[in-house]
């Protein structure tokens, strides 16, 4: 009886851990998708719209999308921030968006919009992980 309970608990723990990891990865690839996976539709939709808006406006303002291996420390940090946007970053690289040099103040704002969108996406994905793993109370 005791062994059965322990086995069931271990199965549940593995299931929760798998779901939490899936929420983290899915939330990183598609903004808000981790919350949608957990049934938090409104939160997921709000996160998706907010992060997509930030990223799109950044591109519309002629912001720069950072690439790896430039050798410049600030560019590496920018790349790390951009990479947080997951699927949006990959899409931007595939479509060659944000490849033009930054020449205006608004384009510099655009670059910051893109980096912040990536960082916000990381926060959202980690939040989805916390909800799934029970570290954060689900209301």
């Amino acid at each position: 009886m005791m062994e059965e309970r322990m086995a069931t608990h271990a199965e549940q723990s593995t299931h929760t851990s798998g779901k939490a990891t899936a929420a983290l990865i899915l939330g990183w690839i598609i903004p808000g998708a981790g919350h949608i996976l957990l049934g938090k539709w409104v939160r997921g939709a709000l996160l998706f719209v907010s992060i997509l808006t930030m990223f799109s406006i950044g591109l519309a303002l002629q912001g720069k999308v950072y690439i790896p291996n430039t050798g410049d420390l600030l560019a590496m940090l920018g790349f790390a921030g951009d990479l947080g946007a997951g699927g949006l970053y990959l899409l931007a690289r595939i479509m060659s968006w944000g490849a033009a040099p930054v020449v205006t103040a608004l384009a510099d704002y655009g670059t910051k919009f893109i980096v912040v969108a990536g960082l916000l996406n990381v926060i959202a994905a980690v939040d989805a992980y916390s909800l799934a793993s029970g570290r954060k109370a689900a209301a």
């Binding site: 919350h35 939160r43 709000l46 996160l47 907010s50 992060i51 808006t53 930030m54 406006i57 303002l61 103040a105 608004l106 704002y109 919009f113 912040v116 969108a117 916000l120 926060i123 959202a124 980690v126 939040d127 954060k136 109370a137 689900a138 209301a139």
Partner: protein, 57 residues
Amino acid sequence: MLSHFSAVLIFALCVSVVFGITQRTEPRKMALFAGYCFVLFIAGTMLASWVMWLIKR
């Protein structure tokens, strides 16, 4: 094209929404925290703008 102020408004709105959802657990507290962050972003930007204007003079 966006003006500098409208860029600030959109930035503050989007960031506040994400902060509200991720930093609080209940929907009501999320909305309150998002509003609080939004007001702080806008007020902070306006204050910094006035400080820069005073430094320039």
